[in-house]
């Protein structure tokens, strides 16, 4: 990598959560995971500085941020019209040569190591900050198979900051446009045998002593997108005891296409009712989940995949769990002046 590339590009191992203003929520999280010793698919982040330089050039032709800031979020027609216009402009504008060169060098280095397709994922700076719901609003492109396509998808990710949903969300929540920038994660695709999600606390009861794991055959997009009913397990975080085992009828799975992208195919009858994870793999995933949760000090919402070739379990993403964490739970109990008083909960008839 050329010396000056580090202004535009950062490798996961160099990054952490503190770098989020430069690499966005997703990029910071992946860097943080790799630093914590958690296996993630290798990759780099196109930093916000690249976006800012690109945007500054575009702003010189015609204003962008000021026009977005002036929008009324309830004016759907106005938002839609501006969104279409801005996305087209971002996608059509040329990349400044130094940025393009930096991405090319990083891409080559990544591909020299892996000989594989990449995922190009938006990583906005507001992501995971005020409200994680914002995270899902920007684009992700899977199975991108060439440099040219990669550069194209980087611009598409930048453009997705100006999608109708994203603009509306920012305006409704009053985010300052100047504070919103877009980094882009470029990372090796995992050809997943099995993939899914994991919550390091129960989504049903908020219980922090169990983890819920959902998974299905093939790429995780089928699970995340709700196109398949995944297998489901509840596993004791500490004991490893698998208390719930629901093996579902997994009719379809997502697989990569050689020309790029993914397709949905039918799962052979014999594999539909077969558990997509072995108990050993579930235990390995539990250990990873515990490590991540300990690292962050709070329950996590994780996307994971099992590499079809190596069998390695890789994390694609880890975010703080938000549903239960935002509830202010009453304390289960308080210490008593005399410990014996606790038994009145049993003997006092108030059970």
């Amino acid at each position: 990598m050329a010396q000056n590339d580090s202004g535009f590009v950062g490798w996961f191992a160099e990054l952490g959560l503190a770098d989020r203003p430069q690499v966005g929520g997703k990029g910071g999280s992946l860097g943080e995971l790799e630093r914590a010793g958690i296996a993630v698919p290798p990759g780099f982040v196109v930093k916000t500085a690249a976006f800012e330089q690109f945007l500054a050039a575009a702003e010189q032709e015609a204003p962008i941020r000021a026009r977005v800031a002036a929008l009324d979020p309830e004016d759907l027609a106005g938002v839609t019209a501006l969104s279409r216009q801005l996305r087209a402009r971002v996608h059509a504008a040329p990349l400044p040569p130094d940025i393009s060169a930096a991405i090319e060098r990083a891409y080559t280095r990544l591909n020299a190591q892996q000989q594989a397709a990449v995922a190009v994922r938006s990583s906005a700076t507001t992501e995971d900050a005020a409200d994680a719901s914002f995270a899902g609003l920007q684009d992700t492109y899977l199975w991108v198979r060439s440099l040219e396509q990669t550069l194209d998808k980087v611009r598409s990710c930048w453009g997705s900051l100006y999608s109708v949903e994203s603009i509306t969300y920012r305006r409704r929540h009053g985010f300052a446009e100047a504070d919103v920038a877009m980094a882009v994660v470029v990372q090796t695709m995992v050809d997943a045998r099995t993939a899914g999600v994991m919550f390091t606390r129960s989504p049903l009861t908020g219980d922090r002593s169990v983890m819920a794991i959902e998974g299905s055959w093939g790429l995780g997009s089928a699970v995340v997108g709700g196109e398949v009913t995944p297998d489901r397990w509840v596993i004791g975080k500490i004991t490893g005891e698998i208390s719930v085992r629901e093996i579902s009828n997994k009719q379809i799975c997502h697989v990569p296409l050689t020309e790029g992208g993914i397709e949905s195919v039918e799962v052979p009858e014999a594999r539909r009712h077969t558990a997509c994870m072995s108990d050993e793999e579930l235990q390995a995933l539990r250990a990873i989940g515990r490590k991540v949760e300990r690292h962050y000090g709070r329950p996590q919402d994780i996307e994971w995949a099992v590499d079809r070739h190596s069998g390695a379990i890789l994390l694609l993403q880890s975010r703080p769990e938000t549903v239960w964490s935002s509830k202010e739970a009453a304390p289960v109990d308080r210490p008593a002046a005399d410990p014996s008083l606790h038994v009145l909960k049993i003997f006092g008839g108030s059970r």
């Binding site: 208390s243 304390p331 038994v343 049993i346 059970r351």
Partner: protein
């Protein structure tokens, strides 16, 4: 569905009929245990946990003595705020019980003040009082061991006469009998001195964990509290030790020859120093650890290992093989203790506030304080002392048989304890007068009739509960000891109509999923039918079954909660188990293929 809705009620006691032809056997049970019309107003359930088979007339003393002591402890000694004692009724040899809840708020408040002064004192001084308890129990056991064997010599021994003893052998007979009975009733008071307080403290921690960790399994909580060196593990530990001794001494080959226990002992006596050395080790283990019976202490025919060595010896060949295969068979006590501590700390770490952690610390400390008693008392009470008690009654049976009252000493157990005293007085009187006792003309016929009645009763199913289901089961004694809740009663009622006929639900005792052939074992005599890999389906298990746990692949019981001995022992041996299915032994047919999911508490009949 146009099926009529099933009424949410069990049959009334008055609708339960004595099996025709057994009326006089039924009438033998004391008047205060017979159902009466007013009992229709109350809720009763069949205590199949303790009394899974029809009870003989004498064995009913076990219910009577136990409920006398349980009630005294709850009602009068510790003054539990919301519950008094438990009434019992007997029909067709089955024991039904009903709790007496306290519901008046003023009365609860009044009892609460008493409770605090009593129970809290026990919690605060637990270790000292429990050490004192063990001394009392050992004193009681020693006194029972020292009771003389009942006998009637033709003439009073000359030495007694010269010593001026002044009382004759027939009086000693009555004295010994009354002391035997008195000691047994006393033992039950000791049994309940700590029991409810112990279970209550454990459940306090249990409830905290269920609130803090709604999806935690019962067995995980039990593992945080369970003792590592509890008495209930000792008998099986001793068998493992004896297996190691046999290999070390080089006498192991004799154990694979399918000899009876007596033949084996006779053989070892001819094997020089090593054979004698092993037999010496056997004696060390037997006293006291083979004073464990193959039941729960409620049936005279559940004999102790010491009285019938075939049960412990049956598991020695397997243990010996494992030693030869390189297993140490040692329980890694240090490691288990460290694991328990780690478990407690890991769960503690998951709590969110310092206050919660402080409350957790208080509750786990209290649970650990009470638990040695909860796990340990049964060895002294239901096993060791109870064996001494039944064996003393057996000696009276032998004496009465010798004098023609019975054909066999065991017949004595068909008399109630009142009737037995009358038979003893009959014999005393006859001996003193030099006349013939009246008993030989009276008892053989009655015994035959009662034996037939028990056989008949065993053929009939009995309802799991009687009377109107209360809206809430808020009686801590019932919930703690029998694990019965409104939900479990509803499950009993729903059996049939809407439930999956091939699925049984119970308590998850030990995780693991296993499929295999079901073996219905209704009595200890049937244990030999179990083949390697079978799934044991029984009414209740206890620690003496532990040796066969290495042979079976899973266990299912009709009765028991996550605190039952079946559950504790299953966890110890890592055997998938579902306990408290209610009616597993009647719904599952012998030889059927079943699946046991010990983590979810579900048994599925696969056919």
């Amino acid at each position: 569905m146009d099926m009529p809705t099933k009424p949410k009620q069990f049959p009334l006691p008055s609708s339960l009929k004595v099996v025709p032809g057994t009326e006089s056997a039924q009438a033998a049970y004391p008047y205060y245990t017979q159902f009466e019309p007013a009992d229709d107003q109350r809720f009763w359930f069949y205590n199949s946990m303790h009394f899974p088979e029809p009870m003989s007339a004498f064995d009913m003393v076990t219910a009577e003595a136990a409920y006398c002591a349980l009630g005294a402890s709850n009602t009068r000694v510790h003054c539990l705020p919301t519950t008094l004692g438990i009434d019992h009724r007997i029909i067709n040899g089955r024991v039904y019980i009903g709790g007496n809840a306290v519901t008046d708020p003023q009365e609860i408040a009044r009892r609460l003040e008493e409770f605090k002064q009593r129970a809290f004192y026990y919690y605060a001084n637990w270790e000292r009082l429990y050490a004192q308890w063990r001394e009392k129990m050992m004193g009681l056991i020693t006194a029972a061991q020292e009771l003389p064997k009942p006998q009637l010599p033709e003439f009073e021994p000359l030495a007694n006469v010269h010593a001026g003893v002044g009382i004759a052998a027939n009086h000693r007979l009555l004295d010994t009998y009354q002391k035997t009975l008195e000691g047994y009733f006393r033992m039950w008071h000791h049994h309940f001195e700590f029991l409810l307080l112990g279970y209550g403290a454990y459940l306090t921690f249990f409830d905290f964990c269920k609130k803090a960790f709604p999806e935690i399994t019962d067995q995980t909580i039990a593992r945080m509290v369970a003792g590592i060196e509890a008495e209930i593990f000792r008998p099986d530990d001793e068998l493992r030790r004896l297996a190691r001794c046999a290999v070390e001494l080089g006498v192991d080959a004799h154990f694979g020859k399918r000899l009876s226990a007596n033949e084996l002992i006779a053989t070892l006596q001819t094997q020089g120093q090593s054979g004698l050395a092993w037999l010496k080790e056997l004696e060390v283990s037997r006293h006291p650890w083979f004073n464990i019976n193959v039941g729960d202490g409620f049936y005279h025919y559940h004999r102790a290992w010491n009285d019938d060595l075939s049960m412990p010896f049956a598991s020695l060949p397997d243990y010996i093989q494992r030693v030869k295969d390189g297993e140490s068979l040692h329980r890694p006590v240090e490691k288990l203790l460290a694991e328990r501590q780690q478990l407690i700390e890991d769960y503690r770490e998951l709590l969110t506030t310092g206050e919660e952690r402080a409350a957790y610390d208080q509750m786990i400390t209290l649970a650990h304080r009470v638990f040695p008693y909860v796990e340990g008392h049964k060895f002294y009470c239901e096993h060791w002392y109870t064996n001494l008690f039944f064996n003393k009654i057996r000696e009276f049976g032998a004496l009465l048989a010798e004098h023609g009252f019975f054909a066999d000493a065991e017949d004595v157990f068909h008399l109630t304890h009142y009737e037995l005293e009358s038979a003893i007085i009959d014999l005393m009187t006859a001996w003193s007068n030099g006349s013939a006792p009246r008993g030989p003309g009276r008892w053989p016929g009655i015994v035959a009739e009662r034996r037939a009645a028990i056989r008949e009763w065993a053929k009939h199913e009995t309802p799991p509960a009687l009377g109107v289901v209360p809206d809430v089961i808020d009686d801590p004694a019932i919930v703690m000891l029998w694990g019965i809740t409104r939900e479990s009663l509803d499950a009993w009622l729903s059996t049939g109509a809407d439930a999956d006929p091939n699925e049984l639900k119970g308590f998850a005792a030990c995780r693991g999923v296993v499929e295999g052939t079901a073996r219905i074992v209704k009595s200890v005599d049937e244990i030999s039918r179990l083949q390697k890999g079978d799934i044991l389906v029984c009414q209740v298990t206890n620690p003496t079954w532990a040796p066969i746990f290495s042979k079976i692949s899973a266990a299912v019981s009709d009765i028991g909660g996550s605190m039952s001995h079946a559950a504790i022992v299953a966890r110890e041996y890592g055997l998938p188990a579902v306990v408290g299915t209610g009616n597993g032994t009647s719904r599952i047919k012998d030889g059927q293929r079943i699946r046991v999911d010990g983590g979810r508490g579900i048994v599925t009949i696969l056919q």
